[in-house]
């Protein structure tokens, strides 16, 4: 049976992986068993092409993960809220990263006027709202792929706003400098782009930016050419 093959493949592949990891580093699994202290909470899409730990080039133990349809952050969704609460208040991650991606099925669905069916239409409502709020801009984009990418970015922007309004996240930003980021994963080239939303603000940050800004409570810390300087914000 072809179906059984896929199933057995995953299990046997796990066996090989565990053997390889333990051979490479005998302390690998005992260390994992002792607990987790991830630095990053990844909020991303369920899409099979976005395996967070793999695309980040990181290891088990590095990234706490929630993945749902179209990486939608709804303020009253108890599932996402529980993940955020556990990761931020209990595990005390340093970064919350909301990651959208190109060629997202959820984005395409929300750009269409057709019903998706079942509970999905209800789930995609926040993304539909993003579409209607940016109708003019989105309609002006003629290329379907480019339009889907743009709504994915707008979705991240909206999601980051919801994250910034979350009380647990607000407390952690104030108390210990938690950082919130909004990113886009480009499936076409495998790279992640920092969109600059969240605790950073839009300007001067990111892999392409020249100045790197970290905002403190009352001031901006600007890294430039190896030096740091403080600039007080109004």
């Amino acid at each position: 049976m072809a179906e059984e093959d896929h199933f057995l493949y995953a299990l046997s592949s796990n066996n090989a992986w565990a053997g390889y990891k333990a051979h490479q580093n005998p302390q690998f699994f005992p260390k994992l068993a002792s607990g987790q202290s991830p630095k990053i909470l990844w909020l991303g899409c369920s899409d099979s092409r976005c395996p967070e730990t793999t695309i980040l080039g990181l290891q088990p133990g590095d990234v706490f993960v929630h993945r749902n349809i179209a990486n939608i952050i709804s303020p009253t969704d108890i599932n996402t809220s529980a993940v955020i609460e556990y990761a931020v208040a209990h595990l005390k991650v340093k970064h919350v990263v909301l990651v959208g991606h190109t060629a997202c099925g959820g984005a395409a669905a929300s750009l269409s006027d057709n019903r998706v069916g079942g509970v999905l239409d209800t789930w995609l409502t926040p993304l539909k709202a993003v579409r209607y709020a940016n109708l003019e801009e989105l309609n002006a984009i003629k290329d379907d792929k480019a339009r889907a990418t743009r709504i994915a970015e707008l979705n991240v922007e909206a999601g980051v706003k919801v994250l910034m309004a979350n009380m647990t996240i607000q407390d952690a930003i104030q108390e210990r400098g938690l950082e919130v980021h909004g990113c886009l994963f480009d499936i076409g080239c495998g790279k992640i782009k920092d969109l600059g939303f969240g605790t950073k603000g839009r300007h001067g940050f990111g892999i392409n930016g020249t100045d790197e800004i970290v905002r403190g409570k009352h001031a901006q810390l600007v890294f430039r050419g190896g030096n740091a300087s403080m600039a007080v914000r109004p």
């Binding site: 994992l32 369920s46 599932n79 495998g190």
Partner: protein, 221 residues
């Protein structure tokens, strides 16, 4: 740490991710120049993975699956709740649109969520979510209470929770209707162990479970 040092540390741990991502993308492209072009064309994953958010269980790495192989939902303690539109949307999309062949509910020993649910403590917004695990305990109270060793009881609750969540997956209209029509997806319950990195198949009897459930939860019509 001074504020300056904290900021620098945060920048470094943030930048590290982008450096690794660049290296990963370059490596993938070098080994297969069409890798990302093919990925962009669409997804047709064989699996839906419902797992825990725990950072130690990246679904793809522990199963050796490549990008494109598994559709993934991860939440606290791998729960599948009837009224949670988040997980229900994932299942609906995976089954009805992507037509996955296998749904894996994967728990893990040493689960912080399961442990928290065994604790007599008010955990705020986590309460309604973790309540579902307390319900699993109540369903299997006799068996669990009979286990004297606390660690063993906790491990057993992890397993029973996985089986209960498999049952919740089977209760959905999408799974029942697809199985009646296509003979898939099949639902599996696995548990990951940190001590050896191995997945344990709990050997959930999918057909038996489905038959049982349909006495009351039949949604195929």
């Amino acid at each position: 740490m001074a504020e300056k040092d904290i900021s620098r540390y945060l920048r470094q741990s943030h930048d590290r991710v982008f450096e690794h991502n660049k290296a990963w993308a370059a490596e993938k492209k070098a080994s297969d120049p069409d890798f990302f072009t093919n990925l962009s064309a669409g997804q047709s994953p064989e699996y839906l993975w419902i797992g825990c958010s725990d950072s130690r269980i990246p679904a793809e790495q522990i199963t050796g699956l490549e990008p494109g192989d598994a559709f993934v939902h991860r939440n606290i303690a791998n729960l599948v709740c009837n009224t949670d539109l988040n997980a229900m949307s994932v299942i609906t999309y995976a089954v009805q649109h992507l037509k996955v062949k296998h749904i894996v509910v994967c728990g893990h020993y040493g689960c912080g969520g399961v442990k928290a649910a065994m604790t007599a403590k008010d955990l705020g917004i986590l309460n309604p979510w973790l309540r579902n695990i307390r319900d699993v305990y109540r369903l299997h109270e006799k068996e669990l209470d009979a286990i004297e060793d606390e660690e063993a009881r906790y491990n057993r609750l992890v397993e029973l929770n996985v089986i209960e969540q498999c049952r919740n997956v089977v209760k959905t209209a999408g799974v029942q209707q697809s199985y009646a029509q296509n003979s898939f997806p099949i639902v599996h319950g696995w548990v990951f162990g940190f001590n050896d990195g191995l997945l344990k198949d709990l050997k959930v009897d999918f057909e038996g479970m489905l038959k049982d459930i349909q006495k009351i939860y039949n949604l195929t019509e």
